[in-house]
Every structure is written in structure tokens, then in C-alpha cells.
């Protein structure tokens, strides 16, 4: 038996139409099912199947035709009912049909007990939704960027009045009550409370804490402008520190940010001083300063973690540049520089994490005599063409200029592999410096996705009679689905020197380049 369903002037996503076709064919007793627009050739095809009707003859290319063959009337009724159900659902792009609230109010109805709202909308809408959430006493994590500064200030003041967290805008990572949110890692709970302006900074510190045997009580993101822009004035950093000061689980507070605006420093420092708990502070790229007894300055993300763990245990922290013994570092440097050709003289850093990029740029700018970047230490080293490296260059491939219409490189590895393909053709490249960030929301196998291209880059340098050193680190833990050890192993298999942290990777590159220059 046969049946034709015609929906006049119906435009459905191809994915919906194909999924309908596939679902209908699964029904027992359905022979053939054609779901197509009523174009001339499709109508001919359907007629060739022995299906015809006045309705079909009247159909045009903008009408949806569903032609069914079934072994009984009951089967056809069932199939037609299924078609109508599927068309109503208008399945999402991946064919899933999970319920999606259409706005904040309906989301609250679905989960009335939720006390934290994550907002990821275009910047112009995000502020309004965040305001709604704060007004009904929900904490907010604002993933969106491009939120006007005035909106950020207004939201943070509102949050402050109501005693709520307003994390963001542009907050990609948080760890609240042991729950990793957005881009975050599986880290044991413990005595260290983190406050961080940015995502991968928080991830690197949290993972280093886990590695050093410590744990995280809370990880609070604040957004990059909180301390850096005097108009925001560090409202959320201060609130977060105050909250952690009152949190009985938190014994040590660690704060990570780019250097604050000068006008903000007195208030922020006062908050640290009065926290009543040891505070480890790392302002990326800033010189350490003398402070009150309870304030400890760290010079890297990794050191922030190690210092905090030591303090949480009541131990004395001893600074060390490398975990490996100095002889092994020296041997590594010799090995990585031995085969380099004379023209190989530049470092190319291709990062997916913004804070990891900053850390590398600050670590290497001075030793290398200047590093080009999109956010350079010295404005004279602003990279003119983001897509083309020059001299020593370190770029954050997560910057907007690289991701328009594409997912972030922590999700879509191809942005970086394509850039490596470009760099490998440059005979002047001596060292490739990379990060590898794993955890929730990240690529399921970022190291694996780079293997081919890293090996190819090595081969290309060999073909030219040189040697390409590849140095990197993995930000992640054993608990992450990608597993930090697996990722390290994969990178090593491609000839990459995998250092224990991003900072150590950058420092090793400094040594390699110094040795390279001395030859």
C-alpha cells in the first residue's frame, strides 16, 4: 500500500528531512520512504514508484513530499503519525530532540532549584538575561564576550548588592562546589580557593594543584576586565576573595590575573591583606612586589599552584625553575639543538589557551629580544598580520580573528594544524611551542589530532637538512576523559618534548634558543 503526504510551502532543514526518512524506514512494514521537495524530477521519481495523486500533481518545488510504501494501512497510519511527530519536533542539527528552553523564564521553570545560571548569548543580549538571573537571586556565569563595559559594571554592582557571584563576562572556566563548569578539569576537592580572570589560567593552576597533591575548594572566574579596567574596579575579585575568606573549606586563596589597573591596586591589596588567610597572587607579567605577610607573589601559573599547596600544608615553598635535574635539562637542550641548520633561528608559539599564551609571551619576550604577538609586551611587537608569523611569534589561536565562523581551537584542532602546516614551510623556524588543553568541553583527543602534522613538520625540517624542536605541555589531569598521561604520551611519540607545565615549556625554549645562539 502507498501513501503520499504533501506539506505546502514547507522548508525544513535537510537534516530534519533526512532524519525523517531514516526514522520512517525503521518502522516494521515500511518498504520505501521518500522525503523530498516537490521538484519536477522528484515528482517523476515518485510517480515511477507507482505513487500518484491529484495532490502530488499539484505539488511544486517548495512543497515537501513524503511518499510511503507500507505493507498495511496500519503501518501507513503509524508512519504518517511518526512523520507528523518528527516535523513538529523540528529536530536540532544533530538529530537530537532534547527540550530546549526558549529563554530564562522557561529555563527556571524547568530547573527551579538551580542557583547558578550559565549564559552564552551574543553580547548584546547577554546582559539583559544576566540581569534577570541576578534579580531572582541566581548566581551568574557569563560565558559571552562582547558585553559592553557599562553593562558589566551595572551587573557586578547588582550582584554585589545581592551577595551573588557574577562571573564574567568572557568567563570560560569555573569550578563551583566541586562541579567543573564549561572548560574545566577533573580536580580533587581541597583547601585552595582560586580566583581567576581567565579560563586557561584557572585550568593550568587547578591542574598543577592536583599534580602537586593539593585540591581546589572553589574556582571562581571573574572575566578579564575585572581587575584590568579601573571602571570595573575589581568588584568581583574582591567579592570572590571575601567569599573564600569566609569559606571554612578554603585555607589558602590564589588569585591569577593580568596586572590590575593602577587605580584598582590599593582596594584589591587591602582585600587580600584583610582576608585572614594566606593569599598567593600571580599577576601575569608583573614584577613581584613586597606586600603584607599573608600575601605571596608567584612568578608563574605553576608556581602559584605549588606555593598554594605548600601553604595549605603549612610547608615552606622552595622555588625551582625545572622539575628535571639541571643535567637532564642541559642534555635535552643539547639534543634539541644538535641538528638545527644555521638558518633556523625563530620560535613559533601556537596556543589554544589565552592565558597560556600570555605566560609564554611574557616569559620569552625579554630573553629572545622581542616576541611578536597579538597582545605583545611591547606595542612595537604587535603582529601585523595575525595569519603570518614573523621573527619570534606567539599567537593565541582562540582570538576572534581566527575563530569567525569556526569553533574555538580547544574544540576544533584544525585551526592549529593548518597553522602548523604553514609554519613548517618556513626554514627559519627552530622551535615550535605548543599547549594542549584537555578537560570538559575540549577536543576529545587534542594531542592525537596534532600527531600527523607534528610528525610532518619534523620531517619537513629534516628534508631541509635541519631539525625542528617541538616543545609543549599538557594542561589536564588523570581524571579528564582525555587523560593527561595519554596526551603526553602521544605528543612524545611525535617527537615533542613535553614539559610538566606551560611555564617550564617556555623556559626550556629560552634555554634552547640561548644554546642555539651560542653555536
Amino acid at each position: 500500500m502507498k501513501r503520499i503526504i504533501v506539506r505546502k510551502d514547507s522548508y525544513y532543514d535537510s537534516v530534519v528531512l533526512m532524519s525523517i526518512s531514516a526514522e520512517i524506514k525503521k518502522i516494521d512494514g515500511v518498504g520505501e520512504a521518500v522525503v523530498a521537495m516537490g521538484t519536477e524530477v522528484n515528482l517523476t521519481l515518485i510517480k515511477d514508484m507507482g505513487l500518484d495523486s491529484d495532490e502530488l500533481r499539484a505539488a511544486g518545488p517548495n512543497d515537501l513530499i513524503i511518499a510511503l510504501e507500507g505493507e498495511s494501512e496500519e503501518v501507513l497510519i503509524s508512519a504518517e503519525s511518526k512523520v507528523n511527530e518528527l516535523l513538529r519536533k523540528k529536530s536540532s542539527a544533530d538529530g537530537q530532540t532534547a527540550y530546549r528552553p526558549t529563554g530564562f523564564e522557561s529555563a527556571v521553570k524547568v530547573m527551579p532549584d538551580a542557583n547558578l545560571v550559565i549564559i552564552s548569548l551574543p553580547g548584546q543580549y547577554a546582559g539583559r538575561e544576566a540581569r534577570k538571573a541576578l534579580q531572582v537571586d541566581r548566581h551568574v556565569m557569563l560565558f559571552s564576550d562582547n558585553v559592553p563595559i557599562e553593562t558589566e559594571i551595572e551587573l557586578k554592582k547588582l550582584a554585589q548588592e545581592r551577595g551573588l557571584l557574577m562571573m564574567g563576562p568572557d568567563c570560560g572556566t569555573a569550578m563551583i562546589n566541586g562541579m567543573p563548569i564549561c572548560f574545566a578539569n577533573v580536580v580533587r576537592r581541597g583547601a585552595i580557593g582560586l580566583v581567576s580572570a581567565a579560563g586557561t589560567g584557572l585550568q593550568e593552576v587547578a591542574c598543577s594543584i592536583e599534580k602537586a597533591g593539593g585540591g581546589v575548594s572553589q574556582g571562581i572566574g571573574t572575566g578579564g576586565r575585572d581587575l584590568k579596567d579601573k571602571r570595573v574596579g575589581g568588584i568581583m575579585v574582591r567579592m570572590a576573595v571575601e567569599a573564600l575568606a569566609q569559606d571554612p573549606e578554603t585555607k589558602v586563596i590564589a588569585v591569577i590575573s593580568k596586572p590590575p589597573a593602577k587605580a584598582v591596586i590599593p582596594n584589591v591589596m587591602k582585600t587580600f591583606e584583610t582576608a585572614g588567610k594566606p593569599c598567593v597572587v600571580h599577576f601575569i607579567g608583573a614584577e613581584s612586589a613586597a606586600g603584607e605577610e599573608n600575601i605571596h607573589y608567584a612568578k608563574s601559573l605553576e608556581e602559584t599552584a605549588r606555593m598554594a599547596v605548600a601553604l595549605s600544608r603549612g610547608e615552606r615553598y622552595t622555588a625551582q625553575e625545572f622539575e628535571l635535574p639541571e643535567e637532564e635539562i642541559a642534555a635535552l637542550v643539547e639534543r634539541e639543538t644538535a641538528g638545527m641548520a644555521p638558518q633556523q633561528q625563530f620560535v613559533r608559539g601556537l596556543f589554544t589557551g589565552g592565558t597560556l599564551t600570555d605566560e609564554a609571551v611574557f616569559a620569552l619576550h625579554e630573553p629572545l629580544g622581542g616576541v611578536y604577538s597579538l597582545d605583545p609586551v611591547d606595542p612595537a611587537f604587535e603582529l601585523p598580520d595575525p595569519h603570518r608569523s614573523q621573527g619570534h611569534t606567539i599567537v593565541d589561536l582562540g582570538e576572534d580573528v581566527f575563530t569567525v565562523g569556526r569553533p574555538h581551537p580547544m574544540i576544533d584542532a584544525s585551526i592549529r594544524t593548518e597553522r602548523i602546516e604553514l609554519e613548517m614551510e618556513d626554514p627559519e623556524v627552530a622551535v615550535l611551542l605548543i599547549d594542549c588543553v584537555i578537560g570538559y568541553s575540549s577536543h576529545p583527543d587534542p594531542a592525537g589530532a596534532m600527531l600527523d602534522v607534528l610528525q610532518a613538520a619534523k620531517s619537513r625540517a629534516r628534508e631541509r637538512g635541519g631539525y625542528l624542536a617541538i616543545v609543549g605541555s599538557v594542561t589536564g589531569t588523570e581524571g579528564d576523559s582525555q587523560n593527561v598521561h595519554d596526551q603526553r604520551r602521544k605528543l612524545k611519540s611525535a617527537g615533542c618534548v613535553v614539559m610538566p607545565s606551560n611555564y617550564q615549556a617556555a623556559k626550556l625554549v629560552e634555554r634552547i634558543m640561548a644554546r642555539r645562539a651560542s653555536k
Partner: protein, 345 residues
């Protein structure tokens, strides 16, 4: 739109009521009026009054075409049936707020500014012409893509291509009613005529862009990058003038392809193909058909540089990307450029 950041520099972002297009298709008129005929997660289709073509607003670069505006976000509530008008590069919905809804009413009088957006043409990169080849042919003639690369793409399409369209033309096990119909049509025509009436594929298949249209777009792309001219372009054009022949979306894509303008996911594949010079005559090829050991094409570049672009293209739409690449391969094969075969028709 752009706004000034703290340091006074322009940065991409949103103001309260305006979006600025990131790219503008070269065939998007500055002044038009039209009606939204469909809204999807990442695209809005608008039929322009007085033309039987669509214009689209998209948020994904791979969906960019010469009749498309690339936006940082889609207006929240641009619904089917809404009237859209543009004057001198600024578009808005009738006289009403664009994306007003019960729950999101922050924006009123919203507009899209697309006058200053960089243009997207969708031309495929010119294939390289070697002096030797040029001397042989007596004129500039495109060098076809390296056979090893095409063979690699053929395997990738068979392995990763999506069912539902015309993949069955390359792999009979993946066939369906549409590919069976197409295969029958093509094989019969091949036997009877010197040239195949490819135009009969216009409008064939499921989806808002029928698979046949995607296939023909891929074939036209093959012609641009070194394949022979197999398609009777006038016949396809005539077919498109018949309003019943295909959907308005399919017709728009094909008309652009006939004018040498292709969607971004396909130009990306074309760029990869033409960036790799063909192996010199006598070049060694090693096992698997995917390795050329001379010239710039190495196994690594075949499997890596090409791979991500082809995979992204295969993921475009439901089967649109797959069908376009099937057409591209078909065109190269019929032009006797491609080394694979026999094609199971």
C-alpha cells in the same frame, strides 16, 4: 558592527541595535526587499522580491556564498514570513523591531549594516599552469589536480561521506532511490548520446538543496579546476528558468555556480586541490595511490593538509557537502583526470 574599545581601537562586537556583517556576498544587492521563507539554527533564507533567488543570512563561514551575508549572530526572532528591506547597505525588518520576543525585548529597530563588509566572491582559485603544459597546449590551460590527491579524496568521500543523496554513484552499497535514479539516467544517456544530459539531475533528491543540484555544483567546480567542460551550461540554465525544476535554494546555488561562484566549503576544497601542483611526468608514485614522492605533494600533505578540509566539506549540511564532492569527483573522473574507477554506474 564595530565599537571602540578601551584603547580607542575598533573591535568586532555588538551595539544595542545593530549587527555588522562580517562578509558580504558579491551578488548581494545593496538595496532590496524580500520575505523570510525559512529560519534554521545557523541560517535565514530570504526570497528577494522580483527575483526567484534567495539571499541568506548565515553565521558559519563554510555556508558563505555570493548571495549570503555572514553575521556574528542571527537576529533572535527573524521569523518565517517577516518582510525584510534594505536600502544602501542597511537592512531591517519592515518597520518593526527585528528580534523582539516575549522574553528578549532588549533590541528595537535593529538593523544589519553590510555596506562596508568585505566581499565574498566564491571563485575557485586559478589552477596552476606550468610553462611546459602551456607550450604543449599552445595556450594557458589549467593543470588538473594531482591524481594522488584526487584518489585520496575519493577514498575519503567513500569512507566518510553521508548517505541520503548521491553517494551511491561512487559506492553502490550506499545507494538509495535517488542515486539509483541518477545512475540509471546517466548510464542510459551515456550509451545513447555523445554528451550526457546532466541537466536532468536538476532538482533530484531530498533536502532543501536537492542532491542533484549539489552534485552539479561540484561538477561545475571540477570544470573550474582542471576538469573538462562536460555540462551543457545553457541546458542547465534553461532548466532553471522552469520554476518547477528545483527549489529556490537549489536554483540560487546552481545559478551562482554557473557564474563561477561557489560556496565556501567547496572553494576551500578547490584551494587545497589547486595549491598542490600535479606530479611531474614520470614522478614516482608509491603504494595506496596516495603518495607522490616528487614535487611538493608528499604523503603527509595528502593525508593531513587535505584531510581536514575535505572532512569539513563532507560534514556540510546533511548530505550537501558529500553530494558536491561526489559531483567534483565525478567531473574529474569523466574528464579522465581522476585515477580511480571504474565508477559503479
Amino acid at each position: 558592527m564595530h565599537e571602540r574599545n578601551d584603547s580607542g581601537q575598533r573591535s568586532r562586537g555588538f551595539s544595542d541595535s545593530e549587527l555588522t556583517a562580517l562578509e558580504r556576498g558579491a551578488m548581494v544587492p545593496l538595496t532590496f526587499s524580500g520575505t523570510v521563507i525559512a529560519r534554521f539554527e545557523h541560517a535565514v533564507n530570504i526570497v528577494v522580491t522580483g527575483e526567484s533567488l534567495i539571499m541568506a543570512l548565515v553565521t558559519r563561514r563554510e555556508a558563505m556564498s555570493a548571495r549570503t551575508l555572514l553575521l556574528p549572530a542571527l537576529p533572535h526572532e527573524l521569523r518565517t514570513g517577516t518582510t525584510v528591506s534594505a536600502w544602501d547597505g542597511r537592512a531591517r525588518v519592515g518597520g518593526h523591531p527585528w528580534w523582539r520576543s516575549a522574553e528578549l525585548t532588549a533590541v528595537s529597530g535593529g538593523e544589519i549594516d553590510f555596506a562596508g563588509a568585505p566581499w565574498y566572491y566564491g571563485h575557485l582559485p586559478a589552477a596552476p599552469v606550468t610553462p611546459r603544459r602551456s607550450a604543449q597546449m599552445g595556450e594557458s590551460s589549467p593543470v588538473p589536480p594531482p591524481p594522488a590527491l584526487i584518489a585520496a579524496m575519493f577514498e575519503m568521500v567513500r569512507e566518510h561521506g553521508r548517505d541520503g543523496g548521491l553517494l551511491g554513484l561512487l559506492d553502490r552499497r550506499r545507494g538509495n532511490v535517488f542515486s539509483t535514479f541518477a545512475a540509471r539516467l546517466l548510464s542510459v544517456e551515456d550509451k545513447r548520446r555523445a554528451t550526457t544530459e546532466y541537466e536532468k539531475l536538476v532538482g533530484l533528491g531530498g533536502g532543501l538543496t536537492p542532491a542533484g543540484d549539489d552534485f552539479l555544483t561540484g561538477m561545475l567546480a571540477a570544470e573550474e579546476i582542471g576538469g573538462a567542460a562536460l555540462i551543457d551550461r545553457d541546458a542547465v540554465s534553461r532548466r532553471l528558468t522552469q520554476t518547477e525544476s528545483t527549489t529556490v535554494v537549489g536554483a540560487t546555488m546552481l545559478r551562482l555556480a554557473l557564474a563561477g561562484m561557489f560556496p565556501a566549503y567547496l572553494t576551500a576544497v578547490g584551494a587545497q586541490l589547486t595549491a598542490m601542483p600535479a606530479a611531474a611526468p614520470g614522478a614516482e608514485r608509491s603504494g595506496g595511490g596516495a603518495t607522490v614522492t616528487r614535487g611538493a605533494v608528499t604523503r603527509a600533505t595528502v593525508t593531513r593538509g587535505f584531510r581536514s578540509t575535505v572532512l569539513r566539506a563532507l560534514e556540510y549540511g546533511h548530505s550537501s557537502g558529500t553530494d558536491a564532492l561526489v559531483g567534483l569527483l565525478w567531473g574529474l573522473h569523466r574528464a579522465r583526470v581522476a585515477p580511480f574507477g571504474p565508477v559503479p554506474v
